[in-house]
Amino acid sequence: MDRLNFIAGRLVKGALIVLAIAIMNFFIVRLAPGDPVSVLAGQSGAMDQDYMDELRQRFGLDQPLIVQLWIYLQNLFQGDLGTSYRQGRAVLSVILERLPATLLLTISAAIISVILGVVAGSLAARRRGTWWDTLISSLALLFYATPLFWIGLMAILLFSLVLGWFPAFGMVSPEKEYTGIMHILDVLHHLVLPMTVLGLFYMAVYARLTRASMLEVSEMDFVRTARAKGLPEGYITRRHILRNALLPVITFAGIQAGHLIGGTVLVETVFGWPGVGRLAFDSLLQRDYSVLLGIFLITSIMVVIANIITDVVYTFVDPRIEVKQ
């Protein structure tokens, strides 16, 4: 019951944040110079003033901003994110077509980065001061300082161009017309590089965090208690230290969700991954407001959901949370 209350509270809060984001994004994007009509005009060779006015009217751009906002919110509640000026299709379907690719990329990157990061970090903490620790800490420090896009380029150079192990771009090999299991393998083959590149940075983050957190926890009183009980060191690490040390990692994973999704803009651009991140950048260049608004909203919702999930996971890991709340 407590947990249900907790989740309900988080959902309401999340919904409010999403609403606030919807409103703010609307205004921010509307403040941008260059309305979609002038972009269309720029690309279509020739266009007269009447025609442009007609288009503005059609898109509702002639209405006062507040009216546009109201209409936008109303539509939003009906699940209508508007129409893409550029593609002439419903924004929701434009985004939904791209969303699976982004989810595949981000979730897989998140999973490998958390798992490998925690494993590496706890290894470094347990073998503190050994060459394991030095190696892991140095690598983590290095990846932590490396720009995603650069390492992406270098990965393409090395693994695609020089070694030819992985494809340099895209999510599928359309010319092969694979189906079934071959299709899945093909996607995985394409996934390896972008996932690793996106995951590396966060892997470094989690490794550092886990290491620091474990060292901190290992100095806590209850660990001393566990030692005084004469429990084996490995057992203490697993049962007492690691579990407590994971609490900040979980919190951080929730916070990182937003960054991870932001990182897809760079990674998807470098690897030509057909996801939302690339769509966001393309839409921005094209001033396709409604798509951009939609992406903002959807990525924010993703972050909110990720935060709720981490909060809920937290309640399972930490029995105190419901009471403290």
Binding site: A32, P33, G34, D35, P36, S38, V39, A41, G42, Q43, S44, G45, A46, M47, D48, Q49, Y51, M52, R58, T83, S84, R86, Q87, G88, R89, V94, E97, R98, A101, I156, S160, L161, G164, A168, F169, G170, M171, V172, S173, P174, E175, T269, V270, F271, G272, W273, P274, G275, R278, L279, D282, L284, L285, Q286, R287
Partner: protein, 527 residues
């Protein structure tokens, strides 16, 4: 190595050699998928609603126009079997092909043409609207005949039926609907040799052969695959690794072309851009000081080494532009003076104007709106800035995205920019709009944004557009070109010769003035 195997090898070599004898191989064969790159991803494939480059490229295989144009820009049959123009130049009669079916099986008739021109394009197609303004009425005496009556003679009219200028739209799907919200937009229905099979957003577009295509035995290809690869380096890789067969101009960096050309069995052509004939030019805002002074504009012109731009930035895929009309156009006047790269002359001109260098050596600062299309244009902007700095003109660069660029230009909020102008087959269609004072409207980047307001030029262009005698037209346009260049109203940089890189087993790739944008019914792959 035994003698036998050596002999076998020799025989093999001989066999291969004989196979590549053109006469042997030029017999078209059916089958195969042509793999290309659509870049950037087209927003839609409904060509009637969108005529951006990638849309033309992909949808040009789905839709067709009444006419096609050869590389001398002469009309060829398209959906119109033949055509005639009345002597007074006011009546155009088109006879349509028979037995043409839309991709959904409905027959294509003159009613479709009338609907397309009268209702559809005149509402949604910005360029066609301008052309159709010359039309008095459209008539369809029978299912396969369409007659256009013009208000006044308009020589360029016959150049206006290319597929992107006037794609034929199925009346049975669009008549009486809201064109932009029509669900059929998602599944384009044309008469072309290829149908849309699958569009995986962000990944690829696959077209498949139209088995009911009206031209017997065509197309040769089973299908066309357009990969969507947003990154130029990756596009080069895709070609190198054999994932695509063809690269269009702009797909890759120009200096990469030479490298790819070195690969075996790869060829490069710059043909197929005759209809568009892009000219890259510096647009000045003539309203603003000091750009309102022709000496200043001439100084800019002299300060920029256009040979360097052609050679280094475009890797030779272009040539120095002499004036507003592209040298590929029959109206190009070769007698235009050559403006030399002469920084000293530029400095003289600036001195003459009384623009003295300040402590940092700057004589004047102007706002430069960089064109953000591709790396090449950005680099060109960087180069020009550097060149102008050496004569004391400082460029304050605004780098924005395409949207911001279009907006700023449309609002005349700039001093200088680089732009790309397509000729669209005839100066009256492609060039006129940017020069005439009647098009001095705010808000559209493709209008006359520079503020050029010269009655002489207005007069010349208007007369040339309605004149039907080609020689007289040439004379008028020639005068126009001289007038523009003499006043240095604009700075013409280069004519782009976009290279198409392809494997030489792809045959008959370019066979009209719109090159790769054409329907590719005749393209085949040698095996």
């Amino acid at each position: 190595m035994s003698l036998v195997t050596r002999l076998q090898q020799l025989a093999l070599v001989a066999a291969i050699g004989s196979m590549s004898i053109p006469a042997f191989a030029d017999e078209p064969v059916r089958g195969g998928t042509l793999r290309m790159i659509a870049q950037p991803e087209p927003p839609t494939l409904m060509l009637g609603l969108n005529q951006q480059g990638p849309t033309q490229f992909v949808a040009g295989k789905i839709y067709e126009g009444l006419l096609r144009y050869d590389q001398e820009l002469q009309p060829m049959p398209g959906l119109a079997r033949d055509w005639s123009v009345s002597d007074d130049g006011l009546e155009y009669t088109f006879h349509l092909q028979e037995g043409v079916l839309w991709h959904d099986g409905e027959p294509f008739t003159s009613a479709d043409v009338v609907f397309t021109m009268e209702e559809f394009l005149s509402e949604v197609h910005p360029r066609a609207r301008g052309v159709l303004a010359h039309v008095e009425e459209i008539e369809a005496p029978d299912e396969h005949t369409v007659i256009f009556r013009l208000k006044a003679p308009f020589a360029a009219f016959i150049q206006s039926f290319e597929v992107s200028s006037a794609p034929m739209i199925p009346a049975h799907l669009y008549q009486g609907t809201d064109f932009r919200d029509n669900p059929a937009n998602e599944t384009p229905i044309g008469t072309g040799p290829f149908k849309l099979e699958r569009w995986e957003q962000g990944s690829y577009i696959r077209l498949t052969r139209n088995e009911d295509y009206w031209k017997e035995g065509k197309p040769y290809l089973d299908g066309i695959l357009f990969n969507i690869v947003p990154d130029a380096a990756s596009r080069a890789v895709a070609f190198e690794t054999g994932r695509v067969d063809v690269l269009r101009g702009g797909d890759i960096e120009y200096f990469d072309v030479a490298r790819l050309e070195q690969m075996p069995d790869v060829e490069v052509t710059t043909e197929g851009w005759e209809f568009l004939s892009p000219t890259i030019w510096m647009q000045f805002n003539l309203r603003n000081e000091p750009l309102d002074d022709p000496r200043f504009r001439q100084a800019i012109w002299h300060a920029v080494n256009r040979d360097f731009i052609v050679d280094s930035i475009w890797s030779g895929y272009g040539k120095v532009a002499k004036g507003p009309v592209n040298s590929a156009s029959p109206f190009f006047d070769d007698s235009l003076p050559d403006v030399e790269y002469d920084p000293e002359r530029a400095i003289e001109l600036l001195d003459e104007m009384g623009l003295e260098p300040n402590r940092r050596g700057v004589r004047a600062t102007i706002r430069f709106l960089a064109l953000p299309y591709t790396e090449t244009y950005i680099r060109m902007g960087e180069y020009i800035r550097q060149q102008l700095q050496q004569v004391g003109i400082e460029l304050d660069v605004t780098q924005t995205d395409v949207g911001g660029w279009a907006q700023t230009l449309g609002q005349w909020d700039y001093d200088m920019t680089i732009n790309l102008l397509f000729q669209y087959g005839d100066p009256a269609l492609g060039i006129q709009r940017a020069y005439v004072s009647s098009n001095l409207v705010k808000g559209s980047p493709s209008a006359n944004v520079s503020g050029l307001d010269d009655p002489a030029i207005d007069e010349l262009l208007t007369r040339a557009a309605t004149e039907s005698d080609p020689e007289e037209r040439f004379r008028l346009y020639s005068e126009f070109q001289h007038e523009i260049v003499d006043n240095a109203y604009f700075g013409y940089l280069i004519e782009a010769h976009f290279p198409t890189v392809y494997r030489n087993n792809v045959r008959n790739l370019v066979n009209s003035a719109i090159g790769l944008n054409d329907n590719m019914a005749e393209v085949w792959i040698e095996r």
